[in-house]
C-alpha cells in the first residue's frame, strides 16, 4: 500500500522536520548557567562617549572584582524609545540601564526600576553621597544616580565679542547687531530648535530665568504671564531674523556646524557636550570659542538670575534584573569617586564635585564653569507623565516658531492639554 512505502515515510519525515524547524528558532533562550550569570553584569547604554567611558570603568571593575561587565550598546538615534520599551516590557536581558534623568520618575512609576535606598544605606562613608551633584528619585526613593551631567552654556567667539552678554536683553541686542553688522557671520546666534528631545529643553533655560514654570502647586502653569513673555522672546529670535530662518530644522549637529564654520558668533542655550568637540576639531575657530554662563534676568538688587538647564545621564537598576547584587556592586563602583575619575579620564563629564575639581583632569577651565553652572542649574520636574508633557511643549514651541497664531492662544491651549494630562 502507498501509505507505507519508503518514499512516503521519507517525505513525511521531511515535512515534519521542516514544520518543526521554525519552532526551533524560539527555543533556547536562557542558555547561560546561573553561575555564569552571577558573574556578569550587563549595562544597557547608548553608543558614544558615555559607552566608551563606562566601558573603561567596567574594565577597571572587572580587574578588581573578577565580575565581568558587558555594555549592551544601542545606537543614539531611537535610543530612548528602545530603552523605554525594553525596560517597561520587563526584560531581564540587562541589569543596569543608562537613562536620561528626565525619564526616571516615569520608569519608577511603571515599576521598571529598582529603588536604591536600601542599597545606598549599606554603603560606607567612602562612597560619599554628598559629593554626588544630583540624585534622581520618585516618591522618596532614589532610583538613579548620574555618571555624566549636562548643562547649557553660552558659546561665543572671543575674536568678535569682547565680553559675553549677561542678560537675555543684552543677548538679543548683541545678536541683532551681529546679524546685520557683521560681515564675517551669517546670523546673530543659534539655538537648537528642531522639534523632538531638544526644543523644549533649550526653552526652559530661558523660561525659568523669567520666573516661568511648567507646574505650580501641582497644576499646569504654562499660560502664565512669565511663560508667555519667554515664549514671545523665543518667537522674536525667529521673527527678527536673529537666527537662521530655517532654525526649526537645527538640531545639535547644525548648531555645532554653525559654530565651527563661523556662521554664528554665539549660540545659547547650548549643550556643554559641544565644547570638547569644537576644541578638538580642525575648525579655524576652535581656539576662539569660549564658554560663559547662560544669560539671565537682572533682578532689582542688581544680581542676575540665571537658570541653566541640567540633566544627568544616570545609572539605574532594572527591576527585572536577575543579578541585582552584582549589579549594585558595579553601580556603586561606577558612581564612586574612583569610577567618576576613570569615566572623566575617558572623555566624560563626571557627576561628582570632587572629580570636576580634580587637578589631574584636563581641560580644567571647562570643568570650572561646569561646576559654576551646575550649582545654579535646574532640572525638569520629576513626573510620571513627563513624556507627554514634553510633547505638549514640543508642539507649542514649534507653533510659536513657525506660525502666526498668538503666543497666548498657543500657550493657553497647551496649558489645557497639560491640565487634562495631570488630571488623568
Amino acid at each position: 500500500m502507498k501509505l507505507f512505502n519508503l518514499r512516503f515515510k521519507i517525505e513525511l519525515v521531511q515535512i515534519l522536520l521542516l514544520a518543526l524547524l521554525p519552532l526551533s528558532l524560539f527555543a533556547g533562550g536562557d542558555q547561560e548557567s546561573s553561575e555564569k550569570e552571577k558573574q556578569k553584569v550587563v549595562v544597557f547604554i547608548r553608543t558614544g562617549p558615555e559607552a566608551e567611558g563606562m566601558r573603561a570603568v567596567g574594565e577597571s571593575f572587572t580587574e578588581k572584582t573578577g565580575i565581568e561587565v558587558e555594555m549592551m550598546e544601542v545606537g543614539r538615534s531611537g535610543y530612548f524609545s528602545t530603552m523605554t520599551t525594553q525596560l517597561v516590557s520587563g526584560t531581564s536581558a540587562f541589569d543596569l540601564v543608562a537613562t536620561n534623568s528626565a525619564y526616571v520618575a516615569q520608569f519608577a512609576a511603571s515599576q521598571a526600576l529598582e529603588g536604591l535606598n536600601s542599597y545606598l544605606e549599606k554603603e560606607d562613608s567612602s562612597y560619599d553621597q554628598d559629593d554626588i551633584l544630583f540624585t534622581y528619585g520618585f516618591k522618596g526613593d532614589t532610583y538613579a544616580i548620574p555618571f555624566d551631567v549636562s548643562t547649557h552654556f553660552l558659546y561665543y567667539r572671543t575674536d568678535l565679542i569682547d565680553s559675553p552678554p549677561e542678560t537675555w536683553d543684552e543677548y538679543f541686542t548683541l545678536a541683532k547687531k551681529m546679524s546685520t553688522d557683521s560681515s564675517s557671520t551669517n546670523y546673530g546666534t543659534a539655538i537648537t530648535a528642531l522639534p523632538g528631545p531638544e526644543l523644549p529643553k533649550a526653552f526652559y533655560s530661558l523660561m525659568w530665568s523669567m520666573e516661568g514654570s511648567l507646574l505650580k502647586d501641582g497644576k499646569a502653569s504654562i499660560n502664565s504671564d512669565e511663560v508667555i513673555k519667554a515664549a514671545n522672546y523665543y518667537r522674536s529670535l525667529a521673527r527678527e531674523k536673529v537666527v537662521s530662518p530655517d532654525i526649526i530644522s537645527w538640531g545639535f549637529p547644525n548648531v555645532l556646524d554653525a559654530l565651527k564654520t563661523g556662521a554664528v558668533p554665539m549660540a545659547s542655550p547650548y549643550w556643554n557636550a559641544a565644547y570638547p568637540l569644537i576644541v578638538k576639531s580642525d575648525s579655524p575657530y576652535h581656539d576662539k570659542i569660549a564658554l560663559a554662563l547662560v544669560p539671565g534676568v537682572k533682578q532689582t538688587d542688581g544680581s542676575i538670575k540665571r537658570t541653566p538647564f541640567q540633566h544627568g545621564w544616570s545609572l539605574a537598576m532594572n527591576s527585572s534584573s536577575r543579578n541585582k547584587d552584582d549589579a549594585w556592586k558595579f553601580f556603586a563602583y561606577a558612581t564612586s569617586k574612583e569610577g567618576a575619575l576613570i569615566y572623566a579620564n575617558n572623555g566624560g563629564t563626571p557627576a561628582r564635585e570632587s572629580a570636576l575639581k580634580d587637578p589631574s583632569l584636563q581641560p580644567r577651565e571647562y570643568f570650572d564653569i561646569m561646576l559654576e553652572s551646575l550649582s545654579i542649574a535646574k532640572a525638569e520636574p520629576a513626573v510620571p507623565y513627563y513624556l507627554e508633557m514634553h510633547e505638549i511643549m514640543n508642539q507649542a514651541l514649534s507653533a510659536i516658531l513657525t506660525t502666526n497664531t498668538k503666543v497666548s492662544e498657543i500657550m493657553n491651549q497647551a496649558n489645557e492639554q497639560l491640565d487634562e494630562l495631570i488630571n488623568q
Partner: protein, 307 residues
C-alpha cells in the same frame, strides 16, 4: 487520510505559514487588543484598562494632530507617486533609445536607490539648509536666485499670492512639504524607472512596427500601444510605491523630526506610541494606518484590474 504525494506542494508550505502566523498574525492580534485598552508605560505591567473604542474616537475627534497628519499623508502619497511615475516613465522612454553612454547613465541613475534612505535625507538636509547649503549656493551664485528657505514651513510665494495663507496651511503648500517630496522623488524615481524600463524592453515589436506603418505619431503610439501593454507592470510598480509611501518615516524624521507641520501618520504614530509611550493610542493609530493602506491598495487594485 492525507495523500502526501498529491498534497505535497501544500504541505511543504506549513512551516512558512507557522512563521507567518507567529510574526504577523499574532502581533496584529495583540495590536488590536492594545488598541482597545487605555494602556501606557505606567499601566503596562498591570495590563491597562479596557477602553473599547475610546482610543479611536480620541484620535478621530479629539486629536489636534490626526486630521492634519491624515490629509498630509494622502497629499504626500498622491503627489509623490504622480511625480515619480511621470519622471520614471519619461526616463524609461528616453533610455529605451540607443545613444552613446546609455549604459553608464543607466547605472548612475540607480545610485540613489542603492543608498539608505536616512543617509539620503541627512545629506539633503545639508544641501537644502540656508547655512551654506549646496542647493542655495548654486541658486545664488550661479543662477542669481535668492536663497530658498527649503527647511521651513514658509508658504511657497506663488501659491501664497494666489490662494492666501490659510489655503497654503491647509494644503501644505510650503517649502518643508516640497522638500520631503523632493527627497523621496529623488531617491525612488529610479526604482520606478528601472521597472518600467525593464517592462518596455520586453514589449513585443510587432504592434509598434504596425503603428509606424499606419503612420501613428509618437504620442498616439504611446497612448494606444505602450501604455496598455505596460499596464500590468505599471500596476505592480505603483502599488509597491503606494505602500512604501504610506510607510515613509526615516526621511521625514531626518529632515524635520516630529515637527507638527511635517507630520505624517507614521510620524504621529511613532510620536504617540514610542515617544509618548501611549501604547493604546499608538496601537489604535497603527490599526487605522493599516486599514488605510489596505483600502488604498484595494481601490488601486480594483481600478487597475483588466477585464
Amino acid at each position: 487520510m492525507i495523500n502526501v504525494d498529491k498534497h505535497f506542494n501544500y504541505l511543504i508550505l506549513i512551516p512558512c505559514f507557522i512563521v507567518l502566523f507567529l510574526v504577523s498574525v499574532l502581533p496584529i492580534g495583540y495590536l488590536l487588543i492594545l488598541s482597545l485598552k487605555k494602556i501606557n508605560m505606567i499601566t503596562f505591567r498591570s495590563g491597562g484598562a479596557f477602553a473599547g473604542l475610546a482610543n479611536y474616537t480620541k484620535l478621530l475627534f479629539n486629536s489636534p494632530q490626526f486630521w492634519p497628519a491624515f490629509g498630509r499623508t494622502i497629499e504626500y502619497v498622491v503627489i509623490t507617486l504622480f511625480l515619480q511615475f511621470v519622471i520614471g516613465m519619461g526616463l524609461a522612454l528616453i533610455m529605451n533609445n540607443d545613444f552613446p553612454g546609455r549604459d553608464i547613465i543607466n547605472n548612475i541613475l540607480l545610485i540613489p536607490v542603492m543608498t539608505t534612505p536616512i543617509v539620503i535625507a541627512t545629506l539633503w538636509k545639508y544641501l537644502l539648509n540656508l547655512n551654506n547649503g549646496g542647493i542655495n549656493i548654486i541658486l545664488e551664485q550661479f543662477l542669481g536666485i535668492k536663497a530658498v528657505p527649503w527647511l521651513t514651513n514658509q508658504p511657497i510665494p506663488l501659491f501664497h499670492n494666489i490662494f492666501g495663507e490659510e489655503f497654503c496651511i491647509i494644503f501644505n503648500l510650503n517649502y518643508a512639504f516640497l522638500s520631503i517630496i523632493l527627497v523621496n522623488v529623488w531617491q525612488w524615481t529610479p526604482f520606478i524607472f528601472l521597472l518600467l524600463y525593464a517592462g518596455i524592453r520586453t514589449l513585443p515589436h510587432e504592434p509598434f512596427e504596425a503603428a509606424q506603418i499606419d503612420g501613428a505619431s509618437y504620442f498616439q503610439t504611446f497612448r494606444a500601444i505602450t501604455l496598455p501593454l505596460l499596464k500590468p507592470v505599471i500596476s505592480v510598480v505603483l502599488l509597491l510605491r503606494l505602500v512604501d509611501l504610506i510607510k515613509v518615516f526615516d526621511q521625514i524624521w531626518a529632515l524635520f523630526g516630529n515637527a507638527p507641520f511635517a507630520r505624517t501618520l507614521n510620524i504621529e504614530l511613532y510620536t504617540l506610541g514610542l515617544m509618548n509611550q501611549n501604547y493604546g493610542l499608538g496601537a489604535a493609530l497603527s490599526v487605522m494606518v493599516l486599514l488605510l493602506s489596505l483600502a488604498l491598495a484595494a481601490i488601486f487594485i480594483k481600478s487597475t484590474k483588466t477585464d
